[in-house]
Every structure is written in C-alpha cells, then in structure tokens.
C-alpha cells in the first residue's frame, strides 16, 4: 500500500481498562483523508475514551495506533497536535476571560521586530479569520461574553488554523443555533474538500445522515458496526446503538425483570405538568401511578437526565409543576422534593450520588439523620438498625458497615445509594441509569429490586440507555427528543422494535 492510500489515522484492536470498567475492548477504527466519519454510541459506550486515545490524552493498554500508516505513540495531547490532530471538545476548551483574538492566537501570536506580541495585527487577522466563520463581533472582547455557539466557532477556527489533517468534533452542534449549524457544515464541507479527515460525534441522526460518509458504532466499549452510512438505515443505526447484540442475549439471557406490574390504579403518585427549562426542557408532562414503572426513553441529550433532575428539584424550572400524591411542591429544591417523598438516584453516582470518602453507614443514614436523632444528637443504635436492615435486604457485600464507599465495587456502591433512597421511605423513585457500570450479577439484583419496589406500591421513573432494560422494566415508556415528549408506548407497544421506531422517526 502506498503512503497516499494509507489512512490518516488508524487504531487496531485497542483496549483501555479503568478500575472496574473495560472502557474499550478490542476496538478498531479507520479514518481516511477527506472522510467525515461519524462516531456514535450511548453514554459509556467508549466514544470519549476512543477520542482521548486518538488525541493522546490516554495511552491505550493494548492495540496499535497508526498515523499515515506508521505506528505512533502519543504521550500527550501536544504530540497529537504536532501530528496534525486537532480536537474541538463539547465543552469549549478556551479561556473565557481572555479576548477572542488572544484565544485564537494563544501560543502562536504574531510578533513584531522587538519580539513583542503585535496586538494590532493579531486583532486584524483574528477578525478576518472569524469573518469566514460568520462571526463579526469585536475580537477584543472577552471570549466568555460571546454566545456558546460563537465560542464553539472560535474553537473550530483555532483547531483548523494549525494545518490540521484530522479534526475531532465532539458534539459540536449541541450549543449551536440553526444558522450557526449551517456555518459549521459549510466549514466541514471546506475541510472535506481540502482532504482533512473529520471524526464527528453527534446524536442528531439527521446531521449524521446529512454530512457523514462513514459511521462507527460503539456499545459497552465494543465495536458494534463500522461501514458507510448510506448502507445503514435509521432504524438499523438506532438498534445498533441501543439494542443488545444477539450473541449477548443468548449468553446472558434476558434481564431479571418480571412481567407487568399490577398498577394499583387510582390517583397518580407523581404528576409533572408542563415542565420548562430554557434550552433544556420544553413542556414535559407525564404521570406515574403507584406501583407503576414509567421508562424515559430517547437518545443521549434528549433530556432524560434533565427531566429527572427537574422533578427532583435540582434543575431550576422556568415554569411547570410537580405534584406528589396530589400535593404540589411549592418551592422546587432537593430538600422539599425529598420531604414530599421523591428520592433520586443521579446518573453519575460518583459525582452527585455518594460521599465516596465516608463509610457505608454514613452514606445510608445521610438523608434521614433528623429521623434517627434526638435534639440533634444521632442515635447510633437507630442508625445501626436501619443500616443493617438495608445491608442485608439489598445484599450489600462489604467487610462491614464502616467500610469506605469509595473502596466498594460499582454494584455495591449503587446498592448503597439505593439503600439511602429507600431509607427515606419515598413514594416516588427516580432512577437514572441504575445499572450502568455494574457487573452482571449486581445488575440482575438491582433489576429484581426495582420490580419488588414497584410491587410494594412505589411509583418508579426509570431511565436507561439499554433498550431491553427499559422495555422489560417499564410498564409504559415516555420517549423524549430535544427536551420534549416525542411519543409514548403503552401496553403491547412496549417493545424494543416500537421504541426504536419512535426514536428513529422522531429524530428525523
């Protein structure tokens, strides 16, 4: 193979292990010159790990990385940049307090004959360059004052300025207005013509089909599919992302969920009406009956976690009401929501769920301390009792109640978190990806537990990127898209086929 035919960037059989998680498992990926290559998958599928391997942020545990056909090792992001790989991160990685022009030129400022930064020339050139990206605002103002979309454009301009041969774009359109999206596509077109290879991460199917040539789909750290995007229709794409490969189903059987729950009927235990939050949620309404599991479906970024947060009082709402057992929450905040009987398991249990440095005991008791104390002094006996109850009920495996939560396995951490929720005696459970990142055994236990809780009469809202889990665990599924309700599956419609159909058609 001659050098010109060699792919710009290629990884073969790359693996990357993190404590407790296999983030990438024997993944191969090829990017050719002038190709716009979509990289898709749900949260935790391994996209960001793969990007970080390609851009030198992580070093892979196994497998090869090849640049223009030659094996390379990137010891850091600077190595990758030197090789012509530029990255535009989802969260703008520029310095908001510095001026637009200084951001654009940081580290390669034009200098005058005294070796000093030529500010006038820098500003002039910055204005010229950015005009090509549809940005005409004053380049001397701090970057942070621009709209997020414009900041994204500056990041793009900066990435492209350095003779980039590969540009990685991580959800570039998530903060752009429609007009800015068009500008971005224009830029991508120009890069494409120049023979630059583009790795494009997005969840907006219409964008993928509009601008991408090839697609690679990851799921649970493994490569699911790679090929030309025109050979794959939307439904196939979605089912690759969310669906379980048949081999896995044969191996592990189905999920541990039982059948339908006999919803007690009557008054809904949770009723959300017209929840609105700027840029995040638009008019979300749904109800949960006692003993019912309602799934929230949709692709990443559809507003599932935001909905959960809004119901739990952790996301400020512009309007809308949350009603528990017929009583409307007057001031939506986590304390009030908890008092009303809403318990939430956040998506990121390490960042928002558990106090990892504290013990199992302290974590379980945290939310119910007032109930376990007299005049502000906690009763160790009462705590012991409740902690023992939950450790045995949820079968938390630990050396004892005083073990640090940070030292537990993912599954046991999740159980500790669930124990804390249940200790509050909730009426409604909001579970955001309850089985993410935990081993198969613990997964089955958690799923069985959800069934059991619903059978006891709790209302459960379940978010999961695992289509089977969502379908089998839920009595009804509300499908979201772009922060709004796109459809609802009831009764016989609650199947993976229907779910994927709704997602695929809703997204067009």
């Amino acid at each position: 193979m001659s050098a010109s035919d060699a792919p710009l960037l290629e990884v073969v059989g790359v693996s990357k292990q993190f404590p407790g998680v296999r983030a990438l498992d024997d993944v191969s990926f090829t990017l050719r010159a002038g190709e716009v290559h979509a990289l898709v998958g749900e949260n935790g599928a391994g996209k960001s790990t793969l990007i970080k391997v390609l851009t030198g942020v992580y070093q892979p545990d196994g497998g090869d990385l090849r640049h223009l056909g030659k094996p390379v090792t990137f010891n850091g992001p600077l190595d990758a940049q030197a090789a012509g790989i530029s990255t535009i991160y989802q969260e703008v990685n520029l310095v908001p307090l510095m001026s637009v022009a200084r951001n654009l030129f940081l580290g390669r400022e034009p200098r005058n004959r005294f070796g000093l930064v030529d500010v006038a020339r820098m500003n002039r050139e910055a204005a010229e360059i950015l005009a090509g990206y549809g940005i005409t605002s004053d380049v001397r103002r701090p970057l942070g004052l621009m709209a997020l979309g414009a900041q994204q454009m500056v990041a793009l301009a900066r990435a492209v300025m350095v003779d980039a041969r590969v540009v990685v774009m991580d959800e570039p359109t998530s903060s752009l207005e429609p007009r800015e999206v068009e500008t971005l596509f224009g830029v991508i077109q120009r890069l494409h013509e120049r023979g630059v290879g583009i790795i494009y991460v997005s969840h907006r199917l219409d964008e993928l089909y509009r601008i991408c040539d090839a697609v690679t789909i990851l799921r649970d750290g493994k490569l699911v599919h790679t090929g030309l995007i025109k050979d794959l229709d939307r439904l196939q794409l979605v089912s690759h992302m969310l669906g379980r490969p048949m081999s896995d189903v044969r191996k592990a059987g189905f999920t541990s969920f039982g059948g339908e729950h006999s919803a007690a009927g009557g008054k809904p235990v949770l009723r959300c009406a017209d929840l609105n939050s700027r840029h995040k949620l638009t008019g979300i309404s749904f109800e949960v009956l006692p003993g019912e599991v309602v799934g929230l479906g949709g692709l990443l970024g559809a507003g599932r976690s935001e909905t959960i947060k809004a119901v739990a009082g952790a996301l400020p709402l512009d309007s809308g009401t949350v009603e528990v057992d017929g009583t409307t929450l007057r001031r939506p905040n986590p304390v009030a929501a908890l008092k009303a009987g809403i318990a939430v398991q956040p998506e990121d249990r390490k960042a928002e769920g558990l106090a990892l440095g504290l013990s199992i005991r302290e974590n379980i008791a945290l939310a119910v301390l007032p109930r376990l104390s007299t005049a502000g002094v906690v009763s160790e006996r009462k705590i012991d009792k409740i902690v023992e109850t939950f450790i045995s009920r949820l079968r938390i495996k630990a050396s004892g109640p005083h073990q640090r939560v940070g030292d537990l396995s993912g599954g046991n951490q999740q159980k500790v978190l669930l124990a804390r929720l249940l200790a509050t005696g909730p009426k409604v459970l909001l579970l955001d990806e309850p089985t993410r990142g935990i081993d198969v055994g613990a997964k089955a236990e958690v799923q069985a537990l959800i069934d059991e809780l619903a059978a006891e009469g709790l209302g459960v809202v379940l978010v999961s990127s695992d289509a089977e889990e969502l379908v089998e665990g839920s009595d009804r599924v509300v499908v979201l898209r772009d922060g709004a309700v796109a459809g609802e599956l009831r009764g016989d419609e609650v199947t993976t086929e229907h779910l994927m159909n709704v997602i695929a058609t809703a997204a067009s």
Partner: protein, 322 residues
Amino acid sequence: MTAPSLAKSRGFDAATVRRLLPVYGVYVALAVLVLFNIAWTDNFLAWNNLRIQLVQVTPVVIVALGMALVIGTEGIDLSVGSVMALGAALIPLYLGYGMIPAIALAVVGGVFVGLVNGGLVAFVGLQPIVATLAMLVAGRGIALVVSNGKYKDIRDKDFLAIGTDAFLGVPYTVWIAAVLAVVVGFVVRRTVFGRRLLAVGDNRAAAQLAGVPVKRVLITVYVIAAVLAAIAGVIQVSRIGSADASRIGLLIELSAITAVVVGGTPLTGGKVRVLGTVAGAFLMQLLTATMIANNLKDSTAQMVQAVIILVAVYTARERRTR
C-alpha cells in the same frame, strides 16, 4: 514471576504507609518528642514546665478546633487571628458591667464575623480563602478601631482569674480548651450537624441531592470557627492581662492550619480529626519548646516549622483529581 509479586507487595506496603502516616504520624512524632525531652531536657516533667506548655498551646488548640471543622467542609478560614483580636478588643468595653456581658459581647463579635464569612461562602459563592481574606484584613482593623488603637490593661479580678487561677492544679484556660475539644469531638461524631458537615466536605453535590441543607451547614461552620477564635482571644486577654489588638492572634491562622493538617485532617475535606488536631497543636508547641530548651534559636524553630508544614501537607494530599 517472583519479581513482580515482590514489587507488588512492596507497593502495597508503601501504600499502607502512605495511608497511615498522615493519620497516626502525629502521635508517633509526639511520643518521640516527649521521650526525647524526658531524656534530654532538664526539668521537662516538672509540673511547672508542663503547665507553661499547656497554657501556651491553649489558644492554638481552641482556634484549631474551629479550623478543623472549616477544613472538614473543604474550606479554610484565614480570618481567625483577626477575630481573636476583635474578641480581645471587645472585652474591655463592657467589663465595667461585669465579666459575663463582656465575654458575651466578644462572642457576639465572633458570631457576626462568622455570619459574614459564612454568608460570603454559602450565598455569594466566594471561595473560602477569598471570603475570609477580606475579613482577615478588615477584622484586625475593626479590632483596632474598637480599641482605639490603644493597648488596654485589664484590672477586673474575676476576669483575670480565668487566666491565672486553676482547678485541681490545672489552669482554667486549659480546662476550657479541654471541654471545647470534647464538645467539638462530640459534635463531629455524634450529631446530625457533624455528619452533614462531613458529607458537605466530601461531596457537596451529593449532599445537596441527599437533602442536606448545605448553605445552613456552611454558615454554621464559619460561625463556630469565629466564635471559637473569639473565645481564644478572650482567654488570651485574661492570661496576659491586657488587650492589645495589634498583636493578639497574629499569624495564629498559620499555627491552626498546621495543627489541623499535621493532625491528619486533609485539606480536601470530608474528614475531621479532632484528637489529631489537638495532638498536632501539642506537637508544634512542644517542637518549638524543645528547640528553644536545647538552645536552638527561634529563627531555626520557624524554619523547621515551615518544613514540617510542607511535609505534612504533602503526605496528606489525597484525591487531588476530583
């Protein structure tokens, strides 16, 4: 086959040492220092000497208790020295009406500063170091304004008795510090507030979602720290018999932070070691005393202290990547 496993076991040992050193290092060092002094320093065990050491370490212990709570929430309070000065400066104002109103006023002064610090941290969202820095600058100024910049002698006998008299041979001030240490220890271990404080320090977002009133906890912590500092100021005045707002509590924030950190409380929050903090204060006190008793100069003592602080912080640094 053996080489990696050997390396592995050694790595494990190193990790264990790294884990245990910040926690128990202070007790070992204190024991070594005491033994050294018993062997080499004349009259070390004489009650008079021990008494002096105890009395001298008292203000640092009291201030450090509050500092430990603040650090437990992943904060810091640089204003404690100024609050000590403020507490001291407020004493002479109402001493004419008796001892109780005078001390009450000093405590109210502490509450006021604590509310300002806590409010800036909890509601405005300032970094603790920034919020308390303003109070560090302004607090001593207020103290000087209150005392009119004058050094005031105290003549109230009841009040001076706090600093001079003893119960069972142990000075009152030491008793006060001991009681406060026990109370703070109890608060951390056995109260709702203590548990919440640790949760806020370990993971504020999680605590918030678990229904912990984060803002109230933060404000309370800063108020407690400031009140303890004011009490330390009061004690200092009763001991030296004068209120000198320009000197009382100068650089005590440094000694207090040192005591807390040396005592095994990480600056990253989520843990408070009360006994360790007291031991840390004793260690630093004894270290200085030992060096002076053995004819090392104050200057050397300060440089040694500087090195110890850095070593303590370095060994205690954990979970930096969060």
